[in-house]
């Protein structure tokens, strides 16, 4: 509650600054002994926690309306400085492709906006066009093309443009070549994503219809004006390729052959999931397990056994066994511990409404922490565009 106290204090300050004339008036009112300075505890609990009861959760809604608690003298409006003071992010774990972090003090609408943008609006590069020169394998062209599309490509999409209606060039297309052949008399060959080789100079397949120029290089399916190697230092140090080299694309029997060229372009997850930069991005609210009374001896042992993920521990104090909540974060809210007689009264299962445990699993184009920053930037851009449209 002390945090809330502070909020209210801030609130009355900023309010009095705004309305300089009424300054004394408002201060006078706020200092009256019977003006409630905070919500009564049970309402505060409903406002900040979802309670999970044996049959269904209650108080699941977020109360956003600024005047929701006006009759109790509580201001529910958004104050930016309040948000700034209370908002926190803690990184729990960060690996090459995953991140887990706690986002505290933010509205679910915003947390969800970030999640939705991560899944469907952060761009990546993915194979969109496949030109087959030869395919005698048992995997049909269209199936193989689809499989190729889903191979994550390790390249920063920010270095490329959307191709839209432009001809494929060095700024919007990445070309890969794949040639695999299983010779007769040899065992079957597994073609993996390792076989995709990057062609920094663009397509090597000549345009069949083009007979006009005979002097210079024959025209191909892409019109690169220079090698992509020269565009960015990163490309030459770290050649573009599939993120994982062991994705199975096809198996070839003796005498079968695949020869193709795959063109990757920039796109977004809402067009096709192959452009989604995340395997998944999700969040859950922080579980809160509270023992409403002392749980001792047999009951404590029973409780410890009930929980499938070992949220509870048993403390031994002077021969007395007492249950404690040791790992509330692991709680999956399976509600096993509140099943059966009277257990609902002993254990309260809650979720903190503004504390999100956020997880992002990147497919590999960008590191997960960069993905999140990009997602937030995209939401900012949306706002900016709307402001421009309105003025």
């Amino acid at each position: 509650m002390s945090g809330k106290d502070k909020n209210l204090h801030n609130m009355s300050e900023s309010e009095s600054e705004q309305e300089g004339v009424d300054k004394e008036g408002i201060e006078w009112i706020m200092n009256l002994p019977d003006v409630p300075m905070k919500l009564p505890p049970h309402v505060e609990l409903q406002r900040t926690r979802v309670e999970c009861k044996a049959d269904a959760p209650i108080h699941t809604d977020t109360i956003q309306y600024s005047g929701a608690f006006a009759s109790m003298g509580f201001d529910n409006s958004l104050r930016l400085d309040n948000f700034r003071n209370n908002f926190k992010i803690e990184v729990i774990d960060l690996k090459e492709d995953d991140i887990e972090f706690d986002m505290i003090g933010i509205d679910p609408a915003l947390a969800n906006a970030f999640r939705r943008i991560l899944i469907s609006e952060v761009p990546t590069m993915a194979i969109e066009k496949v030109l087959f020169a030869n395919n005698t394998s048992i995997v049909q062209d269209e199936v193989l093309a689809h499989r190729l599309g889903l191979v994550p490509i390790r390249v920063d999409p920010r270095l490329f443009k959307y191709s839209d209606k432009d001809a494929p060039n060095e700024n919007n297309t990445i070309v890969f070549r794949l040639h695999a052949c299983c010779e007769r008399g040899k065992p079957r060959l597994t073609v993996t994503s390792k076989a995709l080789t990057w062609l920094p100079n663009g397509s090597e397949f000549p345009l069949v219809s083009d007979k006009s120029v005979s002097n210079s290089k024959p025209k191909t399916y892409t019109s690169f004006s220079c090698s992509q190697n020269t565009l960015s230092k990163e490309f030459s140090n770290n050649p573009i390729g599939p993120k994982d080299s062991d994705i199975i694309l096809a198996r070839l029997g003796p005498g079968q052959e695949i020869e193709l060229e795959a063109h990757a372009v920039k796109g977004m997850g809402k067009t096709h999931a192959k452009w989604s930069p995340v395997a998944t991005a999700w969040y859950r609210m922080l579980p809160e397990v509270v023992l409403m009374e002392e749980i001792e001896d047999e009951l404590a042992e029973e409780l410890e056994k009930k929980c499938p993920v070992n949220v509870f521990d048993i403390e031994d104090i002077a021969g007395k066994k007492r249950a404690t909540v040791a790992r509330p974060r692991d709680c999956t809210l399976c509600r096993e511990c509140i099943r059966g007689d009277a257990w609902e009264k002993r254990v309260a299962l809650r979720r903190v409404k503004d504390h999100f445990i956020f997880k992002i699993e990147s497919t590999g184009a960008l590191p997960p922490e960069v993905l999140f920053t990009e997602a937030v930037k995209i939401l900012e851009d949306k706002c900016e565009r709307l402001i421009a449209e309105l003025s």
Binding site: S77, M103, E369, E384
Partner: protein, 108 residues
């Protein structure tokens, strides 16, 4: 696009093309926390139409300005989220050195 009346600026519906729940819900939540707003909600008239309508009714200020302020607020919030996040990642990397460096590729 704004659908409102000329005489009463305090109530308006804003129709936005190429947007969905992502922006509309975030805006609805910011608008609702603005004490000048008496009513605010959004709807997607047809699922195959890329369009949302946001309805804003205020206590007296022009709805358009209030919506603009909400966008501004949302942007400030986003910026703060981004800064906090960057700091948190930096802190994490400082306190827990990796076996393998993260983000080895293409970070600008």
């Amino acid at each position: 696009m704004e659908h409102g009346s000329f005489t009463d600026e305090t109530k308006s519906t804003f129709s936005m093309a190429d947007e969905d729940h992502t922006l509309a819900n975030a805006l609805r939540c910011t608008l609702n926390q603005d004490p000048r707003v008496t009513f605010c909600g959004y709807s997607i008239p047809h699922p195959s139409d890329n369009r949302v309508n946001i309805r804003v009714q205020t206590t007296g200020d022009p709805a358009r300005e209030v919506l603009k302020d909400a966008c501004q607020n949302l942007m400030v919030v986003c910026q703060h989220v981004r800064n906090t996040f960057d700091k948190a990642v930096l802190d994490f990397n400082l306190t827990k050195p990796k076996e393998k460096p993260v983000g080895d590729i293409n970070i600008k």
